[in-house]
């Protein structure tokens, strides 16, 4: 029995379904409504059976096209409850003819047991095998109740917001006892829209709706179904969600934006102002540091390190500047301009006298120097032909070389030999006294060689005059240091030199002086110009001795017509008062102590007796050419090449 009944039942079902399917006009209500075809005349049939809470259910029928059966009571509802062991057709327990409904109450409702429905008229039985169901499969729960919403948040832009919707399960559904397990589905739309938006089905009694727009009104509905079942119940009544622009919180947002932009704009404006007025601000905030500057000195000198010129200038020989440094008698020195130095003759003179004397040595070096100097250009540096005091052939390279040489002489990179030798030489030259061989040797020994002489400068600044009559020459600061040490030597050497000089030719002196003059930087040769001019001017008048003054014979200058530099005077200026005075006869080098108001050089300070006849004439007349960087075009013609 048990074995055959299932299979037989199945076969019966199959046969019936195959037979009845094409001819069944009214399909079972359990199928999708879409499959219903209403073209053909329809029998009385059940439209739907629904259970709301899985405890009772209702079935509705319709007479179809058989209007004669539409009157109440004509059609009767029978149901079959396929219960074990026996099952029979029973009539509907409760009729509701007004809406053609058959209601099954709790006592007549069994779950999980199939029900089959049929309509019977007096004569016929309208049956449809498809109208069988189990109650749990026809459950359509009531819609949820107590819908409400709360605002979750508003986006920072103030354009959208989120809400949380809460509800309660339908009271008819016994969810608390676990009789039914429900899940819910929300759908919402804008007020005037046509399409609903559905959210995912979920079993909780709350759900969030995100991304709603401010100012728009939304309509929300909820429906539910039993979990793991297919039929949803009706939708609940709509609730409306509407959020308008509100709250100071929202309004502050644009304010803050405006503030921020305003501040940024002001900052940009300030930046622009600062940038445009950058220079003024820079001056106000960071005042320029005054560069080292001394009146009357060209900063170029400072750059190139021409210390000899600087020293000369500082000592008071500059063109109009350094009035603080220079004594009063140096204020206006027009004669400085006309001082000229002829270096070429000096070179020639050098070559002729190539002896082992000191002077020759002295001469020998500048020879090298002059060579170097002449290599660059036709006019040597010491041959100024310009008002500015610079050589016409202003070759920076050559000048640098010369400056280097001068620097070497003044501040010789060589050891003390050069310095001492310089001092020795110059002092010896200046000394009127005779030169002893020892002194010569001293000189000679001290002269390390031509190389040293090359770098040394014959131009030395007389910084001091010894009481014995020697002149302390200081080509530079370094030499000054050695003044005290080599004072005695200087004196003796000077004496020796003087002797030699006296013996020697004036030419030598000229040459020496010339060589010295050659080395001088034309720029700073103002010193020399003055000194030489004064020296030259004074010699014929002052042949004084004993007080340290020494004169230079201007005749020596004249006797050497070939010498372009007639003023082969030593171009030494003693910036400070002489400390020593010569008592020896005049030598090539003298110390200029003062300059009269008449622009005459006073080699030795006389006891208030400046020999008027010894007043030099205007340097312009007596000294056509001076070894100086200053020379005016007028003097060019006077210069003897």
């Amino acid at each position: 029995m048990a074995v055959s009944s299932p299979s037989s039942h199945l076969l019966i079902l199959l046969l019936i379904s195959c037979l009845d399917w094409p001819s069944t006009p009214a399909s079972a209500f359990l199928l999708d409504r879409d499959h219903m075809t209403t073209s053909a005349p329809t029998e009385p049939h059940f439209t739907e059976c629904i259970s709301r809470e899985q405890e009772t259910f209702r079935c509705w029928w319709s007479p179809g096209t058989f209007q004669n059966l539409s009157s109440p009571g004509v059609l009767r509802v029978f149901y079959l409850k396929k219960d074990f062991p026996t099952s029979e057709w029973k009539e509907c327990p409760h009729y509701n003819y007004s809406n053609r409904e058959c209601f099954f109450d709790v006592n007549h409702t069994s779950i999980w047991i199939p029900y089959c429905m049929q309509l019977r008229s007096q004569n016929t039985t309208f049956i449809n095998e498809d109208d069988c169901f189990t109650v749990e499969n026809i459950v359509r729960p009531d819609p949820p109740v107590s819908l409400n919403w709360t605002l979750l948040n508003i986006s920072p832009s103030g354009l959208s917001y989120d809400v949380m919707v809460n509800w309660e399960p339908p009271p008819s559904a016994d969810v608390a006892a676990g009789w039914m397990r429900l899940e819910y589905k929300i759908q919402y739309r804008e007020r005037n829209a046509t399409n609903w938006k559905s959210l995912a089905t979920q079993p909780h009694t709350h759900q969030g709706i995100y991304g709603l727009h401010i100012g728009k009104q939304y309509e929300v509905q909820i429906s539910c179904r039993m979990q793991a079942f297919t039929k949803f119940g009706d939708f609940s009544d709509s609730i409306f969600i509407h959020v308008t622009e509100i709250l100071s919180g929202e309004s502050t947002f644009p304010l803050t934006v405006v503030l921020v932009f305003g501040i940024v704009g002001i900052l940009i404006l300030i930046m622009l102002i600062v940038v445009s007025q950058q220079h003024r601000f820079m001056i106000i905030i960071l005042p320029p540091v005054p560069a080292p500057k001394i009146k009357g000195i060209d900063p170029e000198l400072l750059k190139k390190g021409r210390l000899d010129d600087l020293n000369l200038i500082l000592s008071g020989g500059g063109m109009g500047g350094l009035s603080t440094y220079a004594p009063d008698f140096y204020q206006d020195e027009p004669w400085v301009e006309f001082i000229d130095v002829n270096a070429e003759d000096a070179d020639a003179g050098e070559k002729e006298d190539n002896q082992g004397s000191d002077t020759q040595r002295l001469l020998g070096l500048p020879q090298h120097v002059s060579h170097h100097m002449n290599s660059g250009c036709s006019n040597t540096i010491g041959f100024p032909d310009d008002d500015s005091g610079r050589a016409s052939c202003y070759d920076p390279d050559v000048l640098d070389h010369d400056t280097l040489m001068m620097m070497a002489t003044l501040l010789p990179g060589q050891p003390e030999d050069g310095e001492a030798s310089l001092a020795v030489e110059e002092d010896s030259l200046a000394v009127e006294e005779g030169v002893s061989t020892s002194e010569r040797t001293l000189i000679q020994t001290q002269t390390t060689g031509p190389q040293t002489w090359v770098n040394t400068d014959f131009y030395a600044q007389v910084s001091n005059v010894m009481p014995s009559g020697g002149v302390v020459l200081s080509p530079g600061q370094q030499l000054r240091i050695q003044e005290s040490t080599s004072a005695t030597e200087e004196e003796t050497l000077k004496k020796g030199k003087e002797g030699e000089d006296n013996e020697g030719t004036a030419e030598k002196k000229q040459k020496e002086l010339q060589f010295h003059l050659l080395v001088v930087d034309p720029e700073g040769s103002g010193y020399t110009a003055e000194s030489t001019a004064r020296q030259i001017s004074t010699p014929p008048c002052s042949r004084m001795s004993g007080e340290g003054y020494q004169t230079i014979h201007p005749q020596a200058v004249e006797t050497k017509p070939a010498a372009p530099v007639e003023d082969n005077q030593s171009s030494y200026i003693v910036p400070d008062s002489p400390q020593s005075q010569f008592s020896a006869p005049v030598s090539d080098y003298t110390v200029v102590q003062e300059v009269d108001t008449q622009h005459s050089l006073l080699l030795n300070p006389p006891p208030r007796q400046s020999p008027p006849p010894c007043l030099p004439q205007h340097p312009l007349k007596t000294l056509p050419a001076m070894p100086v960087g200053y020379i005016t075009p007028d003097l060019l013609g006077n210069l003897s090449p």
Binding site: L14, K82, I111, D130, A177
Partner: protein
């Protein structure tokens, strides 16, 4: 998400129950000498919750399996046969309440025993169903996995209900099943369609009974927590 959590909890519960039942010991198992792990003890409420979760999950998976099977193998005209499968269900003879009014009238004991009967009666058919589905040509793996999973979980559910009965009702071990071999018969169905329909009926009936089990257990829980307001 709900299913996943239920599944995870079910798996976790399933892991627990072998500890409880393999040695045939009560809920508070004795510690054997040499055992590496202590027997975990669990409260009655938690156990009932887990049993309910098991039942819910089993029902959901069985419903999915039935739908999947129906779509793949059952011809469209025959799809409503499940509603008429009352005759063919193997558990129709069981004295199980079928209406809410009846359920309200029966006791907790009977409720639990009803669940146990249902569970025990479906263990074998599900195993059989697994073998028959393997014979299908184009049975999807998901269907096979689901049915396999359901059969496994049903065993766990049986163990849990047994423990519950012992714990709640203070009854001894129930070693005997109600219907050992009375309900299910192995019939060789040469016809493919018949085989399909039989399997379809089997799945539909099991789905219905799983739903029944779930509701019974929930009602039992409601009675445990709040006796007066429950159905």
């Amino acid at each position: 998400m709900n299913m996943m959590t239920v599944k995870q909890q079910g798996v976790w519960a399933a892991l627990l129950w072998p500890y409880l039942l393999t040695a045939s010991i009560p809920l508070d198992c004795k510690e054997e000498q040499g055992s590496l792990s202590r027997c975990p003890s669990i409260s009655q409420e938690k156990l009932l919750d887990r049993v309910i979760q098991h039942a819910e999950l089993i029902y959901r998976v069985s419903e999915e399996s039935c739908s999947m099977f129906e779509e793949m193998f059952v011809p469209f005209p025959l799809r409503l046969q499940r509603n008429q499968a009352g005759y063919a269900c193997i558990t129709k003879a069981l004295p199980i309440p079928s209406s809410k009014s009846e359920i309200q009238q029966i006791s907790d004991t009977w409720l639990l025993h009803s669940v146990l009967m249902l569970v025990q009666s479906w263990i074998e058919p599900l195993v059989y169903l697994q073998t028959t589905l393997d014979r299908y040509d184009n049975a999807p793996d998901m269907l096979l996995n689901k049915t396999k999973w359901v059969s496994d979980k049903l065993i766990s559910l049986e163990q849990g209900v047994v423990v519950l009965i012992r714990k709640m009702l203070d009854e001894g071990m129930l070693t005997a099943t109600y219907n050992e071999q009375g309900l299910f018969q192995y019939d060789a169905q040469p016809d493919m369609l018949e085989s399909v329909m039989r399997d379809y009926t089997l799945l539909s009936c099991f789905k219905k009974d799983a739903h029944k089990m779930e509701i019974f257990l929930k009602l039992l829980k409601c009675r445990q927590t709040d006796k007066y307001n429950c159905a």
